[in-house]
Amino acid sequence: MIPVEFDYAAPATVQEAVALLAEHGDDAKVLAGGQSLLPVLRMRLNAPGVVVDISGIEELKGITDEGDAIRIGAGATYQDVLDSPLVSEHLRLLHQAVSEVADPQIRHRGTLCGALAHADPAGDVGAPVLALDGRMVIRGTAGERTVGAEEFFVDIFETAIGDGELLTAVVIPKHTGWGSHYAKFVRVSHQWAIVGVAAAVRAEGGTIAEAKVGLTNMGSRPLRAAAVEQALAGQPATEEALGAICARVGEGTDPPSDLNGQADYRRHVAGVLARRAVLAAAGG
């Protein structure tokens, strides 16, 4: 199908982009890589009057070292993330999850920040960014603010980004030396996760000192498994010790029921994936 007609603007600066977004409010949509937006436009699920293409804005490009964190600009594609030595060294969990997103063609074009702003609960990048305590940098005409991932993800396709605001970057604390694993369950390799579990573990001599666990598609937004994280701390990195704790990862969640599985099935799968992800992250 062909999208409904829209006006197209390609601002050269963030300031211009934000001014356009402020002028057009919810009649405007931001286009970065377009890999989520174009299907939505083509299927006419949304028909914005104005599309603001931010892909030409130089200041949004790049992945930079900020000392204790890595900053990934809104112009950085998934492929840029995969190719970044900074991400490979300090954010391995993110690297693993991004390598599972869709297929190579989509990863060449789609952006990490675009996916975060799109906030599809079945998308692969929300859970690792949440688990790694990522912070979103949001610019409006009034200035810049930073929002933690827990507050950023509000509901399905809904974030803390307001009308007239632009997500300009995600800043993620370095997790250098942490073990990590993203376990994704799908029927077709390039599709959205039926369930995914993102785990990062700081191990000390065969014991889990600290664990961070994020869940994909286990609710209307990415979830953090805080109770399981606490229970894992201090445990030996063995299947016996971790299995029972991880099996409870779905407790209290409200995942969707659809053709790919009922909610109780997803809670079961989440437990299995959590065990695998945490064990792999802990080097077990």
């Binding site: 829209f6 297929d103 063609q105 390799s189």
Partner: protein, 160 residues
């Protein structure tokens, strides 16, 4: 309407397009590059794959205006006259097509794959072709062709 200037298969074109025009429609309908096909129109099947600035993309999932100032290579821009690329030769030699509809996209994606990794193993090929569907399900010969082309490329490299 928005004016765009795009280099496609080595030739620069300047055109007025509606912003909603998909790159694949611009290639086929404005430039007559019908070698690139529309398959699923949902960005799943990869039949419309072209290269944008040297990397594979699904041209049904890119607006023509997004290609403004950039370089596109389609399946029609690979061969040098009558001389096929080693990958195109391998597709022919390995019978890596049945109905042929997915072939342009398969070859464009596999060309990208081999540029990224000139010596892939079978698992790498299968993983990096995940965004291309063959409804005849002729995947085995497609993978075989990509691996054969990799061998040919490697041998050519050694001889050079």
């Amino acid at each position: 309407m928005t004016r765009i200037s795009v280099r496609v298969d080595g030739v620069t074109y300047s055109d007025e397009v509606e912003p909603r025009t998909l790159l694949v429609h611009y290639l086929r309908e404005s430039l007559g590059k019908t070698g690139t096909v529309v398959g699923c129109d949902t960005s799943n099947c990869g039949a419309c794959t072209v290269h944008l600035d040297g990397r594979s993309v699904k041209s049904c999932n890119v607006l023509a205006v997004q290609a403004d100032g950039h370089e596109v290579t389609t399946i029609e821009g690979l061969a040098d006259g009558e001389t096929l690329t080693p990958l195109q030769e391998a597709f022919r030699d390995c019978h890596a097509l049945q109905c042929g509809y997915c072939t342009p996209g398969m070859i464009m994606q596999a060309t990208d794959l081999l540029r990224e990794n000139p010596s892939p193993d079978e698992a790498y090929v299968r993983q990096h072709m995940e965004g291309n569907l063959c409804r005849c399900t002729g995947y085995h010969n497609i993978v075989k062709a990509v691996l054969q082309a990799a061998g040919a490329t490697a041998t050519g490299g050694e001889q050079a």
